[in-house]
Amino acid sequence: MKILRIIGIIIVVGIVLFVGLAFLLNQRPSSPFDEVAAITAPQYPVEEASYVARLADCVACHSLPGEAPFSGGLPMGSPLGVMYATNITPDKATGIGNYTLADFDNAVRRGVAKDGHRLYPSMPYPSYSKMTDEDIKKLYDYFMFAVEPVAKPNQETGIPFPLNMRWPLAFWNAAFAPTKVYENKPEQSAEWNRGAYLVQGAGHCGSCHTERGLAIQEVALDDSGDAYLSGALLDGWHASNLRGNQATGLGRWSEDDIVQLLKTGRNKHATVFGTMLEAFNNSTQFMTDEDLKSIAVYLKSLPPHGADPQWTYDDATKVAFAGNDMTAPGASLYITQCSNCHGRDGLGRGALQPPLAGNPTVIGHNAESIINILLNGAGRMVVDGVPDSYRMTPFRVLLRDDQIAEIATFIRSSWGNDAPAVTAAEVAKLREDTDPTSDHVIILNMR
């Protein structure tokens, strides 16, 4: 009896504590801007303000092609159900027109909306929390004064009850979402620190490139974790390893290579595709050369993650082709379907068609991106408003699962590449899970 009573007391106390904690955690966070008077005019030149919006790539999720910028609507799949990016134009009724700077800050850096409801962490506030007060002010400026208000109600999420209750997210935030602005490391250069700030903060690179844990949290939010930016699966793509791994990461890339990829979408090792294509089209190409250099310096400082096999070019494949040796499975398909653009030597054509030999995406352990791009092709890179003409074509219609698996296996094991084989079953699964990419040009406008 006594034991039961004790248990009962514990339960009651537990519930009281839980409710109390939930209540506390669901309080409106404090913001350094709580006391700031209402801002009625822009505080910064619009170029400076919009630059922060470019860095944070808000447009990628909050805009749809052909619709008003930042009026929301992009559906995002999650294990819980589909959710929709919201209207963040300064419309008072349906957007964020009533947000004070402090409200805005709480949304961007803490994941709390003006009415107190918690945002889903598909909004990368755990990263944005590292942004400086100054950048938040600029961002606020941009959305209040440079973006046209658009009256467009937000779409309800497709997440069913009770999973759609937002208050438990407060616990998630307490556990996983940092609340501190990026702090410079004095032992590192100013350039490195700027790069770290951009990568960890506004650039939110880890949202795609860092593995997520059981609670969908990024397992590391900065370089203190050695899985940080070591590559992750997302939306049918494998965001590649950005650490120093020689074969599968950026080990063989120079700082200039990194800058070139982020500025022009391509370099001698690879091109942007998949979701990185969107990040490139909307964000990285607009960054200053100094910022891109800083990002490169920071990324190049990240040591390899895990085992670090070395890649060197092996011309055995080229020699086999020259001798008409098509015995390797997939070799024949490669000749008819791939070699026209990627070459029998696997080295691609200039900067426009990427090499497959030594391409980190090709030799990465996870083949998801390779299967996806073979099935669905690539979208179109848009540089300075001009769409690219050298688009990877989809093979979804032309080739069967077993044929795509053969090609993927071939390119992953040729020219010195040494990555595991791909099965037809893997292709079949991704075929079912993905939609073809269209050759229609998608240009998301910021203004």
Partner: protein
Amino acid sequence: MNEIKTTRRNFIISSLALGGALVIGTRAQAAIVDAEPWDLANPAGSVEFTPWLTINADGSVIVRATAVDIGNGTLTQIAAYIKEELDPVWDQIKPQYASTNRDYLEENVYSNANVGGALAYFSGRSTGPARMDTYMQVAASARERLKAAAAAAWSVPAGEITITEGVLNHASGKSSGIGEFVQAAAAIQLAEEPKPKDRSEWTFLGKKHPGKVQLPQIVNGSLIYGVDVIVPKMVYAALRQSPVMGGTLKSFDADAVKSMPGVLAVVAVKPGDNVPTDLKPPFPFGVSTAQHAVAVIAEHYWQARTALDALPVEWDDGPGAQWKTTQQMNNAAIAALDKPGEKVEVSTGDFDGVFKAARKTVEGTYLTPYCEQAPMEPLNGTAMVTPERVDFWHPSQHSQMAYMVAADETGVKPENVFFHQTFVGGGFGRRVFSDDARMVVAVAKHFPGRPVHVIWSREEATRQGRYRPLMAGRLWAALGDDGYPTALQGRVSGGPGFFVSGINDTAITALLPNVQIESQTVPFHILTGPYRGPGYNSNAFFIETFLDECAVAAGVDPMEYRLQIFGKWADIGWAKCLNEVKAKSRWGEALPKGQGRGVAIANWGMGGKADAGTTVATVAKVEVSKEGVLKILQIDLAFDTGRIVNEDAVRTELEGGTMFGLNMAVNEGLNIKDGQIVEGNFDEYPMLRMADMPAQINVHFGGLSDNPRFNEIGEPPAGVIGPAVGNAIFQATGTRIRQMPFRTQDMSWS
């Protein structure tokens, strides 16, 4: 090694130095584009015997062609007529395209009712009686006049003179090239026009089967197709039309691209922006209506295309956007079959009564999708428009239509419109309606004074087609006690522009005593047009698959079933063709599991009559893996066009038609999303390649009936290949294929 510097401008000058005029045909020997003005095409010392025929002083012969050569060999065929009657040296016969402008000025000298009428300038039918007789007659007449002239000079009877290989001969030893007598011959009036030779006297037609006259220019890349036209001061245009057909152009931001390299202008095209004429076109001008479009004009094509991609454009999709998915359209077409058709195409006997009394009936519902002709040369054309004059170079399938469209679009007087027919990189019906011609001229007239070369991207051409229509069909048959049909009912439906030929005018509807065929139009917005065997290519699939289902229901071998039915038809060609493929395909010989043979027979162009059109019977042998991967092993094909004149030309057309029909049935189908066509290029709209070829395509000549007609050969195979393959799949797997394309159908078995 010479260090040379070539620029585009230099090239034009050098090519002009060769050609010397605003004509680009200098690199193509066989059939230069019509010179302007046309009478300059007759070299010094030559004589024009008739508008169809000029003989030069060197003995070479210019013969003028109306029927555009799209690879079907019309130029070679008319050269063969001249060869038969006049016998010049083969290589010295130079076919040229007949000027449409001259035809206009000279009261339809090339297109009156005696020489083909509205279809005179159409790309085919060169063996049609109107054309065949015309060419044979003018050549015979020239021959007799040449002989008469030589007879006068040599003082011998004309009847003793012969012409062989371009040389006039007399037994006395007198001999001379025909060129020497052209002037004298031109002055001669024959007392009586000679009759063309009787077929029994032919020495060339039916005996020799020359390859196409333009082959030498094809194999060295010098043949000029529309896309190869280069004229001085030419600029290029890249084109985008409303992604949803019938949509309108809301706005575009030309400022965003005007500073891009080479960009000269951004122009908008809208329908109804033309200056109508009172010309009587071979097809109503309505079929050539332009869609709303925007085009970027630049110095080089790649610049135009790059800028077009970068051009911000907004469209108003219009009502077509209501069609969200292909499935929605398919469902609408099939739903239209549930009620009686708005139009009764055929109604004979008491079909209703027979059905009510029937003990056994069979029903089948079938569907064919939108398909794009996809000629390998993308749509294009070059036009220079000024207020007074239009010059227009274009790979048309109906040059008279294109010519009149150019006048109708610009308002320039027809006598000042000069249409230059180029070679054509495939047609298959796509270039007949001349909507492409109108678009070229409509773009060019916004950039007057310079030739504008408009080139569609492959994606633009694929998504802005005039397609084989989406069609659904449902057939019902009442079977008698012997299992054979006693009555037939059919309903077909599809978007505006669908065709019923091949179902209301074929042998089975003529044979059965009780028949009703109805049709129903569904309000789709997708534009349609001719596509190799229009209507027939769907209807033959419907009816021949259905007949196979009847045979199965009757428990009769499908070949025997057809032989029984069509053995009763007045046209013996049907049974001959069936018997021929039955024997040659080893019909009935046992096959391993997963393999099967299927048969189909149909006729293109018979119009419900016996001894008309071209009948084709096909047996397909296929293999289907357990996983459902289809492989075509063998196609046997027999045909009856009555008679033939060039065996090899017939064979190539039948081989080509077989491949076309196979691709259509197995691969082709366009999808719709939010009113737009989804597929843009060959990655999404697959084509059979060498590796997909059946090991054997056997064309057999044993079906020919020797009926006195020379009929068409290009379109007929398009109808039968699909149902033959589908019926073979049924034999191999037990799965009945009722919808094209077959590649989307599950054929797996266990």
